[in-house]
Symmetry: C2
Subunit: 117 residues, 2 copies
Amino acid sequence: MMETLRALAEPNRFQIVELLRKGSRPVGDLVDRLGLRQPQVSKHLRVLSDAGLVEVRVDAQRRIYTLRPAPLQELQEWVERYRQLWEGNFQRLDALLGQMKTQEKKRGRRKRQGDHR
Amino acid sequence: MMETLRALAEPNRFQIVELLRKGSRPVGDLVDRLGLRQPQVSKHLRVLSDAGLVEVRVDAQRRIYTLRPAPLQELQEWVERYRQLWEGNFQRLDALLGQMKTQEKKRGRRKRQGDHR
DNA sequence: AAGACATATTCTTCAATTGGAATATACGAT
DNA sequence: ATCGTATATTCCAATTGAAGAATATGTCTT
């Protein structure tokens, strides 16, 4: 999940993913459409590949890149858990009350964290 | 969208968002739960705030941070467009065919991109 | 008014990331 | 075998991002 987000958080990689949404493409095609140089595209594809977002199929000298569903589905499921936020009924008070209660322990915890470095 | 992704792509910020999902929290509470130092938490909150992911409510010396639905909803809608990927029927050939056709123009484009820097 | 408390900001490293240039690798065509 | 094409990799420079430490700001309590 974190790796998926980090991969997508770069504009050019995001664009690559967007392009691949419509279908697989060889590197050269992406180079043309992105206006980037070939090595950088390859590097971005490497990152996407490491994150499991794309997979390669070899076709002679061409490498055809394809989106892999899994990470995006995972992202989908993650953000789905936030649905309650915009689906109206959402109370935000519980945490505040909990916070009041934990006030006393704070000093102690903070100390422990001090030796932490 | 890009800003949302960049904000979420940092583990601590991601954690902050996760914590806020259950309800609003003051900074000190986040500090305790994350095991980070207060300034870093404030800085992360700043980034999240700039990305529109959280909003602040002032309560005396406390600042209560709350998740804002909008960016997450946007993310939800974005990833939703990729649903076709894991919903089976997905053809990946069209792009390849398109690619064949554009082959001829490639040299020209590549040249133009050369002066690009 | 003074001190404690909660939070934000600034400044300084330090590590990670990105683009650029050059080069390497591998395949296809001649 | 040689050359052209497609892609990956390496090395370097510049940038960016995050943590740490110190400090500033504002509010509450007494």
